[in-house]
Symmetry: C2
Subunit: 132 residues, 2 copies
Amino acid sequence: MAAAYDLDRTLSALADPTRRRVVDLLTERPRRAGEIAETFGMSRPAMSRHLRVLRTHGLVEEKRDTADARARVYRLRPEPIDELSTWIGEVQRFWDDQLESFRQLADKKNREKSRTRKTMKTMKTMKKRTGR
Amino acid sequence: MAAAYDLDRTLSALADPTRRRVVDLLTERPRRAGEIAETFGMSRPAMSRHLRVLRTHGLVEEKRDTADARARVYRLRPEPIDELSTWIGEVQRFWDDQLESFRQLADKKNREKSRTRKTMKTMKTMKKRTGR
DNA sequence: TTAATAGTTAACTTGACCGTTAACTACTGG
DNA sequence: CCAGTAGTTAACGGTCAAGTTAACTATTAA
């Protein structure tokens, strides 16, 4: 099981727009470092450092090209993304729990009093929310 | 539909460990600013700025306490989290597509040649991956 | 009205991050 | 060998973000 520490590192790696777009690019297929730098019109040293951050934070892995040992090929690692996904799921679930508590409170009030316009509006918001 | 720009803002907001933990705290229930600052043993001005970042980036919303108008109550907004969740899902899906292509390539090779130990190892990795 | 409370804003300092150029390593191919 | 290519590391400058203390606004309550 991964620690929250890793999650923070994943988020800090993805906080830079360039790095987030590199992740997007690598979902398509693995690519060489120079190819990635060129895609974003950035100097190779700059991209090299971004790739190092992504690598040391576990989001990508690097391998030498079998055909040309000068080239380094970067590919995504799924683990950090999966961990982030798990955290997101937890946040969404707890949020839904709050909604449920609120719904029960609203229902209770509805039983005690009569329905008001404001309560109806609230119910509408809840319904919209379920479409996630 | 939300732009990728918002996604970058969401990620930059969550990149700070303190802010990410504030989000965790607020999944439980809305809280007052001072309560949040105290929870993390941080000065109120410092937390106030974190809360401002979370608010301007759409992750939380602020309301005055109905009982005490001095207090400001912060609660989570689900939209940025949902958008992030969507992006994560796309990354995971594309990654699975790569796996599928790789699997097909491996199968083709298996048909042409005989099975090798390395291929078996690859199959094992794939199976492990499906447990998401 | 006045002291206290809740919170934000302002001013300042410190530390980290991003991009560039230059220098370096390692491999390729003639 | 040697010139060229792929990529990283080093050094530098500029910008931005985070925390602290002090000052300010607004509200409460005596």
